[in-house]
Amino acid sequence: MSKSNFTRRGLLKTSAIAGAGVAMPTIFTASSAAAYTNEPTGSGVTLGFNVPQTGPYAEEGMDELRAQELAVQHLNGEGDGGMMNTFSSKALKGNGILGNKVKFVTGDTQTKSDAARASAKSMIEKDGAIMINGGSSSGVAVAVQGLCQEAGVIFMAGLTHSNDTTGKDKKANGFRHFFNAYMSGAALAPVLANAYGKDRRAYHLTADYTWGWTQQASMQAATEAMGWETVNNVLTPLASTDFSSYIAPVLNSGADVLVLNHYGGNMVNSLTNAVQFGLQDKMVNGKQFEIVVPLYSELMAAGAGENVQGVIGSMNWNWQLQDEGTKAFVKSFGEKYGRPPSNSAHTCYVQTLLYADACERAGTFNPCGVAEALEGFEFDGLGNGPTLYRADDHQCFKDVLVMKGKENPTNQYDTLEIVEVTPRAQVEYAPDHPMFAGGELGKCNPGA
């Protein structure tokens, strides 16, 4: 009589091992399991748009959101295609990204780092966002960039102008299309020296946080290189609303230029207060007193009203540019929303297209493949002339605009005029420039 060695437990063990063995080849292939965070599994791909929808920068955030929605329409083959028609890369076909229909989810950064991280995290973990795009603050950009690096998704920063974003806080998964404080200084200084002379004494009022510090340092270095003297730099609390007590000492300081290293509500109020004090009517050291606002935005210029008239500043892009890319975008945006786009809207629109284009060229959504496609990418047709995404620090290099508050605006959008388009070569710097020192780009993280 023979006796079988099979037992119920032994049968189960054998089946499990056999099952695992049969399944083995497909588990470890990229097409059948997640090789990176939020790898698309169906016919759609989800982008995460993280912008301020509440709080003091809500208007700017809403304009970013409008532009991102427009970009999604264009990617999916709807509308007139906008800048896809003028973009030098022809990888985008109007059928989504890699054949996947583009969907999007939105988050509210509230212009607070913790809220921005929480909304980005939620979009990545709950909504399956494969990339995060947008925002209006350097503090927020640095915080979200760190989160995206950990999570293994691509981050395309929105309006962030601090040198630190692609300086000491740069990350391999993060890219910035927007210009930075160094570039503002490099573009503005020659124009200022030309307009106001090289023998000037500047007094700086500076918002007391990361962006303000880097903006002030950049302006001081650039203007001193032109021969200006820096009389004083006074840090002002970010929460300040009335700047009269900071402006009063400027009157008899011997300075003949006031540089307002402020943005948003700070800029609107400090510029308004400075004009109220009649600074622009004063003659100091035998020269007309002048005010400079290094970073302009259309929305903030509108907030300051007639006080911006004649005041010089810089911008990343402006709807009045006459290149074909700008004209195509302004037409698409203007016809859809009845208003010209802001420079933060342009940044977010362009970044959405660039991300999609990089996926197409890389043939994958894998963030490491996408990052590789974006690194060192040179292109044209997106509004600022020939443009480079530098591989060393993921900073975008392109022409920078010097703007001036228009003396006789004809409508609410006609607040600024272009004084000069500063060529890209003039605002470029070495990757190891001291203002960008510290921090490592690190390695791309695909997550999952």
């Binding site: 509440t54 709080g55 003091p56 920068y57 809500a58 208007e59 004083n232 006074v234 609390p237 929460a239 609303t241 009335d242 009269s244 007590s245 900071y246 009063a248 000492p249 009157l251 008899n252 509500g265 609107v268 109020n269 308004t272 207060n273 109220q276 004090f277 009649g278 009517d281 004063k282 929305l299 903030m300 509108a302 907030g303 300051a304 009203g305 007639e306 006080n307 709807w319 302004v330 037409k331 203007g334 016809e335 010209p340 004809t410 409508n411 959008y413």
Partner: protein, 343 residues
């Protein structure tokens, strides 16, 4: 010396706004015993009364100008204000230019109405509730009011300039024997200070020299006894809430040209104004005014470069440092009354 005089002027100007808001807060606390965290929102709504009147005066009709184009290349739509077509370009433009002063008249009935609705509709239900409940409900109300304003006016600041005649600066130094252009101060800020002085004087005169004011003061001192005399003190206190709302609103209307109004400007003043009330003494009207000007001047001096170089960051904390010192040495504040907020 010139720097000191300039900072005194700045302090008086800042103090004017603090004093006006704190005056209204103290009136409400002194009469109704309510800690009103929505008071900053009333200041903000006052500023938006100026914005609204400016928008109303600028209501326009459009004509097509074929000779010009808009940003899309279409024929330009040119806007002309109705008021300019009715009264002629010059008079119409002058009326629009004076929108902020005209908003004083526009805002008074609106602010009294809002104050009345707030008090009758919500706050009266919280008279006998703990102060923590009052703070929570009024703070919530302030957020609701903010969001309503943001919904209709957006989040961006809205420039609301003073009339052209008040633009520029007054050369104060020449009056004091200084060289020209050494001590100059914006005309509108001087107007704001004078306006605040008139409002504060009017409120004090109203309380001091009218029968209504006498009853209100008696009610603030001993509500129960005044009630036993057959006087409807609740009705008078409701009117005082409306007056306090109007004072905050007027402070906001006149502040609009100083800083472009935005939906969260009330919150910027709220905490400071509460510090002013506490430093002045809860329930003390003269205390609120005195503390408003005192803290405004100290805040301005703390912003001076000479002070900041000795004590970096002092400009951010000076008000709270002074508040701590005063409360340690005079626990009821500068002019606080015994028994108020002590039960």
């Amino acid at each position: 010396m010139d720097a000191v005089i300039l900072q005194i002027l700045n302090g008086l100007d800042k103090g004017s706004a603090y004093a006006l808001i704190a005056l209204g807060l103290t009136l409400i606390f002194g009469t109704l015993g309510v800690v009103n965290f929505a008071h900053g929102a009333l200041f903000m709504i006052g500023a938006f009364c100026a914005v609204s009147l400016s928008k109303i005066l600028n209501l326009s009709f459009e004509t097509i100008d074929e000779t010009q184009t808009d940003f899309l290349g279409n024929p330009l739509k040119v806007k002309t204000a109705y008021i300019e077509s009715w009264f002629g370009p010059e008079l119409g433009a002058s009326i629009i230019d004076w929108a902020v002063p005209l908003a004083i008249l526009f805002s008074i009935p609106i602010m009294i109405g809002i104050g009345f609705i707030m008090e009758r509709g919500l706050i009266k239900h919280f008279y006998k509730r703990p102060h923590a409940d009052q703070i929570l409900v009024t703070f919530g109300l302030a957020i609701v009011m903010q969001e309503i304003i943001k919904h209709y006016y957006g989040a961006n600041p809205i420039p609301t300039p003073a009339p052209d005649v008040f633009k520029g600066s007054f050369d104060f130094g020449t009056l004091l024997g200084f060289d020209p252009n050494v001590i100059i101060y914006p005309y509108w800020r001087l107007v704001y200070f004078a306006f605040a002085a008139v409002i504060i004087g009017t409120v004090f005169a109203f309380l001091q020299f009218t029968t209504f004011g006498m009853v209100v003061r008696a009610g603030m001192a001993d509500r129960e006894t005044v009630g036993l005399l057959g006087i409807n003190i609740d009705k008078r206190f409701t009117i005082m809430f409306g007056i306090a709302a109007a004072v905050a609103g007027l402070a906001g209307v006149m502040y609009a040209p100083i800083n472009s109004p935005n939906y969260h400007m009330g919150m910027d003043f709220l905490v400071l104004s509460f510090v002013v009330v506490v430093v002045g003494g809860m329930g003390s009207l003269p205390g609120a005014v005195a503390a408003g000007f005192l803290l405004g001047i100290l805040e301005s001096f703390a912003s001076m470069n000479e002070i900041k170089s000795l004590l970096p960051g002092i400009d951010q904390i000076i008000i709270y440092v002074v508040a701590i010192i005063i409360l340690l040495t005079r626990p009821r504040g500068l002019m606080g009354r015994k028994g108020v907020m002590e039960d």
